[in-house]
C-alpha cells in the first residue's frame, strides 16, 4: 500500500467517526458514544453485561476469560435523526468500533480497540434575526455555527481471573482527537451583506481508567445470577489545546480565508496575527459507575439490566470547548432486556441465532455555562428507547455477524420532539492465535 493510500484510508476512518447533526452535537465535546457495537445496541445497554455471546461482552474485559477464540471485531453503524417539530431529517453513518481480543489459557485476556468517545457534526443556523439601529443605519444580524470532529479512544484492556467465580477487568482509554468550529456572523446593511467568520480548533488528549468486576457466585437455585460493576475515572487529565483564529471578513463570500478577504492575509507585519493558543486542563473529567445483572432464566434465555451514572466533574469555567453555551454534565442510563443466546452446539438452524430485545431510558442534564439572558436555565433531555438485535453464529471458530437497531424518542424541556433511529452491524471473526499447528505429513 502506498503511503498516500494509507493516509487516505486513515482519513476516511477519521471522517467516518463524525456523528451528529443535532443541536446536542454542539454541546460540550459533542454527542457521547453509547452502543459501540451491534450486540450492545441490540439489548440497549451500555455494554457492561454479556450480550455478544453467553457470558461475553465485547465491552467488558472481565467477561473475556471464557472467550474460546481470539476475535477481531468490526462494527459499523448509522443514525437517522428526525425532528418532528422543525421537520428536518439527517442521516449519518460510520465506523463504530474496532476491537481485537486475545484470551490467554482461560486465565487472562487482553484486548486492543478503537472507538469514538464523542463526536460532533453540526450546522446550526439562528432562527432569530437581530436588528440594530445605529446612527440612522439598520443592521440585520444573523448567525450560524458549523462544527465537526470528535474525540476517539484507543483502548487497551486486560481481563484476569480472580477466583473461579470472580473476574476483574481493567481498561485504559487513551483519548485523542480534535474538532473544529466555525462561527459565521452575518451583517446586512442596505445592499451590503457580509459574513464574518471565526474559526476555532480544539485538540484533545488524556487517559481514562476503567475497572470492572464480575461475579457469578450468586444464583437462584440452578439459575445463575451474574453481577457486574464498573467504575471509570480520569487517569491522566484531559488536556485541550484550544486555537482561536483571527476572525476575518469574507469579502468575496467564498467561505474561505483568501487574498480578497479582510484583513488581507499577506503584506507587511504578517497580517493577521497568529492564532491564540490556550491550554486548558481539567475541562473534561468524566466519572462513571455502573451496575448490572444477568439472570439465567433457562439454558439459553437471560434477562439483563444495567444502571449507570456518568458525570463530568470538571468546573464549567470556559466555553471554549463547546459550540454552544451548553454542555452535558451528567446522564443516567437504565435498561432492561431479554436475550435468547444461541446454543453452544446448535441442533437446528435458529439455535445458531442470538435474539436480543430491550428498553432503555437515558436522562441527560445540560448545563448552561454562560448566558446573557436571564431566562436561560439548565435543562434536561430524556431519551426513551426500544432496541432489538440479532446475532448469527457461524463457523467452527464461532464467527458472528450481529445486527442491532433501536428507536429513541428524545424530548427535552424545550418541547423538542425527535425520533432517533440507530443501527449497527458487526462482524466478529474468531481464530486460534499462538497455537502450535501440527505439521502436515
Amino acid at each position: 500500500m502506498s503511503l498516500l493510500n494509507r493516509y487516505t484510508k486513515i482519513f476516511l476512518i477519521m471522517i467516518s467517526l463524525c456523528y451528529g447533526q443535532d443541536v446536542y452535537s454542539a454541546y460540550g465535546v459533542g454527542e457521547l458514544t453509547f452502543a459501540s457495537n451491534a450486540a450492545v445496541m441490540g439489548i440497549g445497554s451500555n455494554g457492561l453485561m454479556p450480550s455478544f455471546q453467553e457470558y461475553i461482552s465485547l465491552s467488558n474485559p472481565s467477561t473475556w476469560l471464557r472467550i474460546p477464540f481470539a476475535y477481531v471485531s468490526l462494527n459499523y453503524g448509522g443514525t437517522q435523526i428526525k425532528d418532528r417539530d422543525y421537520d428536518y431529517n439527517n442521516v449519518l453513518s460510520g465506523l463504530n468500533q474496532f476491537q481485537f481480543i486475545l484470551p490467554i489459557k482461560g486465565r487472562y485476556a487482553v484486548g486492543v480497540g478503537f472507538q469514538p468517545f464523542s463526536s460532533q457534526l453540526y450546522s446550526l443556523e439562528s432562527d432569530d434575526i437581530n436588528e440594530k439601529f445605529i446612527e440612522g443605519d439598520t443592521l440585520t444580524i444573523n448567525k450560524a455555527i458549523n462544527g465537526s470532529g470528535g474525540i476517539s479512544e484507543l483502548i487497551f484492556s486486560l481481563g484476569a481471573k480472580l477466583t473461579e467465580k470472580e473476574q476483574l477487568g481493567l481498561k485504559l482509554e487513551y483519548l485523542f482527537g480534535s474538532n473544529r468550529r466555525q462561527t459565521v456572523f452575518n451583517i446586512k446593511e442596505g445592499e451590503h451583506d457580509l459574513d464574518y467568520i471565526y474559526n476555532q480548533r480544539n485538540i484533545y488528549n488524556g487517559t481514562l481508567i476503567n475497572g470492572y468486576f464480575s461475579s457469578h457466585r450468586l444464583g437462584f437455585g440452578s439459575r445463575i445470577l451474574r453481577l457486574s460493576g464498573s467504575v471509570k475515572s480520569v487517569l491522566h487529565p484531559v488536556h485541550i489545546n484550544h486555537f482561536s483564529f483571527q476572525p476575518f471578513e469574507d469579502s468575496n463570500g467564498n467561505g474561505y480565508y483568501d487574498i480578497a478577504d479582510y484583513p488581507r492575509p499577506s503584506g507587511v507585519d504578517s497580517i493577521p496575527p497568529a492564532a491564540i493558543d490556550t491550554i486548558l486542563n481539567n475541562q473534561i473529567r468524566p466519572f462513571e459507575y455502573a451496575f448490572g445483572f444477568d439472570l439465567e432464566l433457562t439454558e439459553m434465555i437471560h434477562v439483563q439490566g444495567e444502571l449507570s451514572s456518568w458525570s463530568d466533574l470538571a468546573d464549567s469555567g470556559t466555553k471554549l470547548i463547546s459550540g454552544l453555551n451548553q454542555r452535558v454534565v451528567a446522564y443516567r442510563h437504565l435498561n432492561i432486556g431479554l436475550i435468547r443466546f444461541a446454543r453452544v452446539l446448535p441442533r437446528i438452524w435458529h439455535e445458531s441465532l442470538h435474539f436480543r430485545a430491550g428498553i432503555f431510558q437515558r436522562a441527560y442534564e445540560i448545563e448552561n455555562q454562560f448566558s446573557h439572558n436571564d431566562y436561560a436555565v439548565d435543562y434536561k433531555i430524556n431519551d426513551l428507547g426500544i432496541s432489538i438485535g440479532l446475532g448469527v453464529k457461524f463457523g467452527v471458530t464461532k464467527n458472528q455477524i450481529d445486527f442491532g437497531f433501536n428507536l429513541i424518542n428524545r424530548s427535552d424541556s424545550h418541547n423538542s420532539d425527535k425520533l432517533i433511529t440507530n443501527f449497527n452491524i458487526g462482524i466478529s471473526i474468531g481464530d486460534l492465535w499462538f497455537v502450535k499447528r501440527r505439521v502436515k505429513k
Binding site: 476516511l12 471522517i15 467516518s16 463524525c18 447533526q21 443535532d22 443541536v23 459499523y76 448509522g78 425532528d83 422543525y86 428536518y88 439527517n90 442521516v91 449519518l92 453513518s93 460510520g94 465506523l95 457534526l121 453540526y122 450546522s123 446550526l124 443556523e125 439562528s126 432562527d127 432569530d128 437581530n130 440594530k132 445605529i134 446612527e135 444580524i141 448567525k143 450560524a144 455555527i145 462561527t183 456572523f185 451583517i187 457580509l194 464574518y196 471565526y198 476555532q200 482561536s244 483571527q246 476572525p247 476575518f248 471578513e249 479582510y262 484583513p263 507587511v268 507585519d269 497580517i271 493577521p272 496575527p273 491564540i276 454552544l324 453555551n325 454562560f370 448566558s371 446573557h372 439572558n373
Partner: protein, 404 residues
C-alpha cells in the same frame, strides 16, 4: 473494503444569539486636531495653473522637464536626432488647455535656461519660497497664442493648445558634451491673465502631457537606382516627465483653534489625534467592521465631493514644532491608507477602519493621522471643519466591531 457515508441533509435551526460572536459599537469623542502649513507643492498635480485667483492665489509661471527619449517608435534621443543623415523640419513644444474651448485670447512666452544645468526645479521640493524667476537667468525663445484646431470631418474637436517653436534650442538639447545641458523650459503668460487658467500636466497621461514634437526626414535613403530620395516626414514625441506650476498663496495663516483647515494652495494640512484610542476596550480578536470618523463643515454645507488622503503618523508629534509656515513637512508617515470622497449633509465621513485594525493588531502606534487633500482637488479651495468640543458638531468616531 469499507464504505462510509455521512449525509447532512438539513441545517438545524436554533437560537444562537447568545453564542459565539457578537457585534458591538463604540463612540469615541475628545478627538483633537491641529492645522499646520507648509509651502505649496503642486508637483503631483494633474493640472498646471497660470494667472491670479480671486482669493489672491498667484500662478506666475510653470516649469517643464522633457524626457531625453522619445515615446514614439523608432525611439530616438535628442542626440540621435543630431545625425547628419536626419534633417529636422520643425520642433514644437505643445501644452494642452484643460477646457475644450477658448473664451479669451491668451499669449504665453517660453523660456530656456542656457546655462542652467539640469537641476533648475524639483517637482517635489520647489515652491515660491525657494525659486524666483529673476534668479533663473532664462532666455526668451518664443511666444504662442492659445489656439484650437477646426473640428475634423467627423466633427471631433480637440483641446486648445499652446504651440511654441523650439527648433533653436534643439541643438542645446542634443549637446551631450555640455555640462550645463538641460531639457527644461519655462512658460509664463505674456500679459496678466484675468483669472486662473489650467493646462494638463504630465500626471494627466501620455496623450495630453506637455511634450516636444520633432518632425524629421531621413536624407540617406538610397533607392534601387542609386539616387538619394526624400522619404516621408517622421514625428518624434518627447513628453514632459516633470512639471510644476508655481503657486504663491495669499498672506495669512488660519489660526482658529476651533477649526482645522485643509487646502492645496494654502497647503493647510491637519493632524488628527484620538487620545483615548489606546484605552478603548476592544476584545483581542475583534475585527473592525466599520470605523467612521466624521467632521462638520464650519460654514459650507454645499461643498462638492473632494478627496482626502490620510496617513498614519509613525513618529511622535510635537505641536509646538508645527507653528507658523514650515519650510518642510516634519511629519513622518506611513503610505496613505485611505482616500475618501464622502461629503454630505454638512459633514465628511472618513473610513479609518484599516488604521484602527492595524493599531488593534499592534502593528502601528497611535501617533495620530495626517490629513491632506488629494492632488486632484483644486488648489484654490480651502475646507474648514469644527474640531473643538462643540457637542453635536464635534468630530466623532464610531467603531463597529465583531468579536468572539
Amino acid at each position: 473494503m469499507l464504505i462510509f457515508l455521512s449525509c447532512m441533509e438539513d441545517t438545524v435551526t436554533v437560537d444562537l444569539m447568545d453564542d459565539g460572536m457578537y457585534h458591538d459599537t463604540l463612540y469615541v469623542r475628545g478627538i483633537t486636531g491641529f492645522t499646520y502649513q507648509t509651502p505649496p507643492q503642486l508637483g503631483n498635480s494633474t493640472l498646471l495653473y497660470f494667472g491670479t485667483d480671486s482669493n489672491g492665489f498667484q500662478n506666475p509661471f510653470a516649469f517643464f522637464r522633457v524626457s531625453s527619449n522619445s515615446i514614439t517608435t523608432p525611439v530616438e534621443t535628442f542626440a540621435s536626432l543630431n545625425d547628419s543623415t536626419i534633417e529636422i523640419d520643425s520642433a514644437k513644444f505643445i501644452l494642452t488647455f484643460n477646457e475644450d474651448s477658448i473664451t479669451t485670447g491668451m499669449i504665453f512666452d517660453l523660456f530656456y535656461f542656457q546655462e542652467g544645468g539640469d537641476s533648475i526645479f524639483s517637482e517635489s521640493e520647489s515652491n515660491y519660497l525657494n525659486i524666483t524667476e529673476h534668479d533663473l537667468n532664462s532666455t526668451y525663445i518664443g511666444s504662442s497664442r492659445l489656439s484650437q484646431k477646426e473640428p475634423d470631418s467627423l466633427g471631433t474637436t480637440s483641446f486648445p493648445t499652446l504651440s511654441f517653436n523650439v527648433s533653436e534650442i534643439l541643438d542645446s538639447f542634443s549637446d551631450t558634451s555640455s555640462e550645463n545641458r538641460n531639457l527644461t523650459v519655462m512658460i509664463k503668460p505674456k500679459f496678466e491673465l484675468a483669472g486662473v487658467f489650467s493646462f494638463k500636466s504630465s500626471e494627466s497621461g501620455f496623450t495630453y502631457a506637455p511634450q516636444i514634437q520633432v518632425f524629421t526626414h531621413d536624407t540617406a535613403f538610397v533607392d534601387s537606382t542609386g539616387d538619394s530620395v526624400v522619404v516621408d516626414t517622421i514625428s518624434h514625441t518627447f513628453i514632459s516627465t516633470d512639471d510644476l506650476s508655481i503657486i504663491i498663496p495669499p498672506d495669512g495663516i488660519d489660526e482658529n483653534p476651533n477649526n482645522i483647515s485643509l487646502g492645496r494652495g494654502m497647503t493647510y494640512k491637519a493632524i488628527i489625534q484620538i487620545p483615548d484610542l489606546d484605552s478603548i476596550s476592544i476584545p483581542q480578536q475583534a475585527i473592525i467592521t466599520q470605523a467612521e470618523l466624521s467632521f462638520f463643515y464650519v460654514n459650507d454645507t454645499s461643498q462638492s465631493n473632494f478627496y482626502l488622503q490620510i496617513h498614519p503618523i509613525t513618529d511622535t508629534v510635537s505641536i509646538a514644532e508645527l507653528q507658523g509656515l514650515l519650510l518642510d513637512d516634519p511629519l513622518v508617515t506611513e503610505p496613505s491608507l485611505i482616500a475618501v470622497n464622502l461629503s454630505n449633509n454638512g459633514r465628511i465621513s472618513l473610513n479609518i477602519r484599516e488604521y484602527l485594525q492595524l493599531h488593534h493588531f499592534g502593528y502601528i502606534q497611535n501617533q495620530g493621522l495626517k490629513m491632506e487633500v488629494a492632488n486632484t482637488v483644486s488648489p484654490f479651495n480651502t475646507y474648514s471643519f469644527y474640531i473643538s468640543n462643540l457637542d453635536s458638531l464635534a468630530p466623532k468616531l464610531i467603531i463597529h466591531y465583531v468579536a468572539p
